[in-house]
Symmetry: C2
Subunit: 211 residues, 2 copies
DNA sequence: TAGATTGTTAATCGATTAACAATC
DNA sequence: TAGATTGTTAATCGATTAACAATC
């Protein structure tokens, strides 16, 4: 199987959004130049990215908007959303549960966990907050593959271990900490400090470049 | 001035965290190998990254933890945090205000804005929520350089325009939308769909690679 | 001195951009 | 047919990794 570059994967949601907009605007055909313009990506890049997954366009014509939209839905796994549990039902955790159109991006959060007795048993967004002790059994029973960590940094490594021993294959970490996980575990860090460092650098230096 | 690679900028906060941990553990000296191990980065990469900013180590010895920590504080701008306004005082906006140790990463949010009359006038985290109409004057008066957008996607482009005409130089966008901004504006998108696309791809494919 | 580790150059790897034949 | 646009190969660019002389 052909190895997909990581930057390519990251651009797919941008294409998807642009296509949604084009579709709502009633466009039936879109060129790589138009799609790139809308997504903020070079047109050659657009074509290259798409060909990793197949041939979707017609030379001299362009791409059929709804066909490409469906193809991207398939590729991004929006048809059968991944199920996840979220640990840490604080403000960040709640914000993630509520993330605009989150379900639309292929993720379904099925259970929340926290240590705080005040939170346990409460409903957040239609989901009950369970005590951490039940994490392992629930993850195992439901066969959950993704664990989302939105705890304070100090707790995150311990939670990661619990999630892994409960059987998740991927961890989406929002705690500002460098987690250690075995190599077979897929780890993605969503780290605001990274974004901030970039912004702050371009602000201080005499730069014209995009962050 | 030497151009700093973007990935290098993104790794600085990881080094910073590792050094904080080392410092708290009482370590006085750390090698690039140890620092890399802790930050999840190759040791050659660590040395290369640091030399963009100066020479901080001693051959045969390593790096002085507290010296390097201070240097990184300087580089990351943690000494004089950037001031920002945040538009969109919903759950995501509040979560960002409360982001653990956020101030420690060099950002100070000084005002919140929203359109919702129910939110306007309320206090969030010690900050008052102002009506959108006051955005321009407040940003101008305080000379704010960073605007954080945590509105729904539909509103984001309009807010971006307002922020730019009010004089911000950088936009940190959390709305899932491809914003159009003039080239001199520094734009950073914090896009959960990007992370999710990556995770979801590695989950579905037979992959061992890290996201 | 012998062992360790930096800073830096060179080699490798991977991603982006340019160019264009094939196709509609 | 003439004009447009894809898919793909080749050229360029940029970042990572390897290697090692200089230094402690």
């Amino acid at each position: 199987m052909l190895e997909i570059p990581k930057p390519t994967l990251g651009r797919l949601p941008l294409y998807y959004r642009s296509l949604l907009a084009a579709s709502e605007a009633g466009l039936e055909i879109i060129s790589s130049a138009e799609l790139g313009e809308s997504a903020g990506v070079d047109s050659a890049q657009v074509r290259k990215d798409l060909t990793y997954f197949g041939q979707f366009g017609r030379p001299g014509v362009g791409y059929n908007v709804s066909n490409l939209l469906m193809a991207l839905e398939q590729i991004l796994g929006l048809r059968n959303p991944n199920e996840a549990v979220l640990v840490g039902a604080g403000k960040l955790g709640m914000a993630i549960c509520n993330y605009p159109g989150f379900a639309r991006y292929g993720l379904k959060i099925v259970a929340l966990f926290d240590v705080d007795p005040n939170k346990i048993g409460q409903q957040v967004d239609g989901l009950e907050v369970f005590p951490l002790e039940r994490l392992e059994s629930i993850v195992k029973k439901l066969g959950i593959q993704i664990g989302i960590i939105t705890t304070p940094a100090e707790a995150a490594q311990r939670i990661a271990k619990m999630l892994i021993s409960a059987g998740v294959r991927a961890i989406w970490n929002f705690a500002p900490v460098n987690l250690k996980v075995p190599p077979e575990i897929i780890l993605r860090n969503e780290d605001l400090a990274v974004g901030l460092a970039t912004l702050s650098h371009y602000l201080s230096a005499e730069h014209r470049t995009k962050a």
